[in-house]
């Protein structure tokens, strides 16, 4: 096991002590305790100064209590014995007041699912980064940006996850993450750069800042381009966003059972080009996550789209039997939402970003998307805006900046129109929250639909 030393938000021993207070709860048939803890230092800057600077330390214990085939959860952030027992009591009371749940699969046991190992994508320097260290990073970003109007974050965080149940499951994992983002607004245009890793030393803040400044300087005097369907290069931030939404819309087994997922009617069919392989793979070198799901089932790498063909969803103990599949260890913590693919990886190809662009005769380079939302799940139809760097490509080279577009586009149709995949796989923290990661390279997409334009 990795030496977690002093900066771990909560130790395995403290987790065991908290869980031990309630695992043998009187009257319960089985008890599970999930403990999550985080220490997050986040420094926000805007207008080239620090505007918010926070350190947050929280812990949550989720006590799931089973009474026959009834189950309920009570959570607390106070891990003393009395509070843990009170949470267990509230959960038991709630479980007894609910109708039986014949689909409840029971809590896992080691003999049923095996014992999960942690991945420990952990960096002690990141976990122990001080406010001064984060401020130094922001200073470096601002210097490299050369701008008096840069905005973004520099964040270091440490996270622990543990599942212990009365049937013998006991697992613990921890990871760290460092994220930086930089937007440069030079008054005439904006540009964007970002970087993330589990280790602070691997995050090149100056490169992110220079990328943002370069895009801003190339974005002056944008022209208005006609909405329509165009060939595009999606840089990694843009393709990762599509992957995050593809997961949200339909990689989970419950969405398949309910008929909402593209996998419900197209499993085994071609849904993307040969170039596309998408997996949920926490073990990928770029991924940041944990080695088990939130009921302690070991996590498996699951290929969801294999060289263009829809293969299968991620599952959990409740949903796997409904589809005749094995559990893959993706319980999200919510039976209402179902299993979730939180470590999506779009496998990289062979072409460099320059080679991708060289193959575009007339199209657009897209840096990233903004405010994406779902229009239709089964067809994976999304809308959203481009922002912080969209450029016309002519003859394989950047020609001129253009005003931002609103897109209306099916993710699967974009993947179906993908002619090449970049070799620049890049990791991103999820758009909201801190659990999991998205890994994606650049894509060359033959047809991407822009529905309207805006004035900047």
């Amino acid at each position: 096991m990795t030496d977690l030393r002093r900066n771990v938000p909560i130790s395995p021993g403290a987790v065991r002590a908290a869980a031990g207070a309630v695992l043998e709860l009187a009257g319960a048939d089985a008890v599970e305790v999930v403990v999550t803890s985080s220490l997050i230092g986040l420094t926000r800057f805007a207008r080239s100064r620090i505007i918010q600077n926070t350190v947050r330390n929280d812990v949550r214990a989720y006590v799931r209590v089973v009474d026959g085939d009834r189950v309920a959860v009570a959570a607390t952030n106070q891990l003393g014995s009395d509070q843990m027992l009170r949470a267990g009591g509230r959960a038991l009371e709630a479980a007894r007041a609910t109708p039986p749940d014949p689909d409840f699969p029971g809590l896992p046991s080691p003999s049923r699912v095996g014992q999960a190992d942690g991945i420990f994508r952990w960096d002690e320097t990141t976990a122990g980064a001080s406010p001064a260290r984060r401020a130094e990073a922001v200073q470096a970003i601002l210097r490299a940006s050369g701008s008096d109007n840069a905005a973004g974050v520099f964040e270091t965080s440490a996270h622990c996850y543990s599942v212990i149940n009365s049937l013998g499951v006991e697992c613990f994992d921890a990871y760290t993450r460092c994220v930086t983002t930089c937007l440069v607004d030079d008054g005439a245009a904006t540009g964007w750069g970002e970087a993330s890793s589990h280790a602070i030393e691997a995050v090149d803040v100056e490169r992110a800042a220079r990328t943002a400044a370069g895009k801003a300087s190339r974005g002056h005097d944008p022209v208005e381009a006609e909405p329509g369907t165009y060939e595009v290069i999606l840089e990694p931030a843009a393709s990762a966003m599509l992957m995050e939404y593809l997961s949200y819309m339909g990689m989970g087994a419950k969405q398949v059972v309910d008929g909402e997922s593209f996998l419900a009617s197209r499993s085994g069919e071609r849904v993307a080009s040969d170039e596309i392989t998408v997996a949920d793979d926490v073990f990928d070198d770029h991924s940041v996550g944990i080695g088990f799901d939130l009921e302690g089932v070991p996590k498996k790498a699951v290929t969801v789209i294999d060289h263009g063909r829809a293969v299968g969803p991620v599952t959990d103990l409740r949903t796997a039997p409904k589809l005749g599949l094995a559990p893959t260890g993706h319980y999200s913590g919510s039976s209402e939402f179902g299993p979730y693919a939180s470590n999506v990886v779009l496998r990289p190809g062979d072409e460099s970003p320059e080679e991708l662009m060289a193959g575009v005769d007339d199209g657009f380079l897209i840096t990233r998307f903004h405010y994406v939302n779902v229009l239709d799940r089964p067809s994976t139809l999304l809308t959203g805006m481009t922002r912080d760097g969209i450029f016309r490509i002519r003859g394989g080279e950047i020609a001129e900046p253009v005003n931002n577009f609103r897109f209306s586009q099916s993710v699967l149709e974009a993947l179906g129109a993908t002619s090449a995949v970049g070799n620049d796989a890049t990791a991103f923290a999820p758009d909201y929250g801190s659990f999991g990661s998205n890994v994606a390279p650049s894509l060359r997409v033959g047809a991407f639909n822009f529905a309207s334009t805006t004035t900047h």
Partner: protein, 481 residues
């Protein structure tokens, strides 16, 4: 909690903070989801902790913890000061705060019936009475009912002398029917989408909704949408119901008038705004009919409170008056930055662990005249859109697109056939300028949206919007694909 906060405040000022506030909270929630006859999830939670915010050398520092001990209070306060000192290394000008009177007060949101005292059996029964009826309708794949409760006690003290205790009880509930036919998935919900209707209220809110009475219609409309034609792509007159006007106000008026966005402080994440300080009193935001306020003083909204999370008294202020931009939502820092005499009190934080941000309170479109039917009466050929399903808007809050659950044709002032997948798009000031009718007080309702995201680390805020149905001319619907 107050003794602990006092210890934190003392430690912060001893460590060199020129200003400090400490905010502690105890939060209790219950979330119930049923599907057909089954309970899909029953989660209860309790959380407590506190955060310390300081100004040191003219810069902000903040630290929070779930460990509620006096020793931890002092440690966290010193950490907040350390964070503030680090911030000061990258500062251009010191933060100044607009003055605010000292407040020593307590306040509680009103309610009739404590929902935490209602038995789980009764709550499950109320939901399953509706969901079982919906599940019996042909083509309904998911019949879901939800009920969400929150009780939050918040204590705020500041080094200026304010000492405020607020206690809020919020209740939300709703039902949703999802119909599936092959790849066609259609949804109807009541009384609103995304887990229903929320308010500062007790269990009486759930009883007033009478979910079971609306179950059959909700499910039948979802099923009927499977066979309805697509909403056409055209330019036409649209009438939006109050629920959709809520989202329209939220995205295209509420967010753009947050002063932190206007000043560029949210540029990297949520974006900025198409309006600027010089637009105040000058910019035509909408037609003469458009009057929009920020009003936490009104009872019952999710954004109803007496004081914000930096101890500023809640105030009703005009944002748009007779179509002209006349106000922003502000904090003490941003108010001072734009030269205002006082913040209008919109700083709020999710839970105890977060730094407060400018967040909408209740952003209300004031009512006009007449009924919903009166809005239809002046439409020869148009669309009536109901219940938000999806939303998106650009980083300056200008180019937007919304999707609703359902639309009906309006022909010669009367509702016609049902249409599915209705979407419309627009440019914010152009759209609001096309508003030619807003229904009257009899149609005006306070809606609540419990899932407004903003900030880094991300915070989810509960905000209110009082709206009536409204009519807009020359709107692009359908949207090219």
């Amino acid at each position: 909690m107050k003794d602990l906060l006092r210890a934190a405040l003392d430690a912060a000022t001893d460590a060199g903070a020129a200003y400090a506030d400490a905010r502690g909270a105890e939060i209790e929630t219950e979330s119930l989801s049923v599907r057909g006859p089954m309970v899909e999830g029953l989660d209860r939670s309790s959380s407590s902790g506190f955060g310390v915010r300081v100004l040191v050398d003219g810069a902000w520092g903040f630290a929070s913890t779930a460990t509620v001990t006096t020793e931890e209070a002092a440690r966290v306060a010193r950490l907040a000061v350390e964070v503030g000192r680090a911030s000061a290394q990258v500062a251009i000008a010191p933060v100044e705060l607009a003055p605010e009177p000292i407040h020593v007060d307590s306040w509680e949101s009103p309610y009739d019936k404590d929902p935490f005292e209602v038995s789980v059996e009764d709550k499950v029964g109320v939901l399953t009475a509706a969901t079982e009826e919906m599940a019996g309708v042909r083509d309904i794949r998911i019949a879901r009912g939800t009920l969400d409760l929150l009780r939050q006690n918040t204590w705020f003290i500041s080094s200026e002398g304010s000492d405020i205790h607020q206690r809020v009880l919020q209740t939300g509930a709703g039902i949703e029917a999802m119909a599936v036919d092959g790849n066609d998935v259609q949804v109807r919900s009541y009384p609103g989408s995304f887990r229903g209707h929320y308010a500062n209220a007790g269990y009486e809110l759930v009883e007033e909704m009478n979910l079971a009475a609306h179950a059959a219609r909700t499910a039948e409309e979802a099923a009927a949408l499977l066979r309805a034609p697509e909403c056409p792509s055209t330019e036409t007159t649209v009438v939006l119901d109050g629920h959709q006007v809520m989202l329209q106000v939220h995205e295209s008026v509420g967010h753009p008038t947050e002063l932190d966005r206007v000043l560029g402080m949210e540029a990297a994440f949520a974006g900025t705004s198409f309006v600027g300080i010089p637009d105040l009193g000058e910019l035509r935001y909408g037609s003469d009919l458009v009057n929009i306020t920020s009003d936490p003083t009104i009872a019952g909204g999710l954004g109803s409170f007496a004081y914000d999370d930096e101890g500023v008294e809640g105030q009703r202020v005009d944002l748009v008056k007779e179509g002209i931009l006349v106000g922003f939502q502000s904090s003490r820092e941003t108010a001072a930055a734009m030269g205002a005499e006082r913040s209008n009190g919109t700083m709020r934080a999710e839970g105890w662990e977060n730094f407060p941000l400018i967040r909408m309170a209740n952003i209300n479109l004031l009512p006009g005249e007449g009924s919903l039917e009166d809005l239809f009466a002046d439409v020869d050929n148009g669309l009536f859109l109901s219940t938000n399903r999806s939303w998106s808007i650009d980083d300056k809050r200008k180019n937007f697109q919304f999707q609703c659950e359902v639309a009906w044709e309006i022909k010669k002032g009367k509702l016609g056939k049902m249409l599915k997948n209705p979407r419309y798009t627009g440019i914010t000031p152009v759209f609001w300028a096309s508003c030619d009718a807003i229904a009257g007080p009899e149609e005006w309702e306070m809606h609540g949206t419990p899932n407004c995201g903003k900030g880094q680390p991300g915070q989810t805020m509960r905000v209110g919007h009082g709206t009536s149905p409204a009519r807009f001319r020359n709107v692009n619907t359908g949207v090219a694909q």
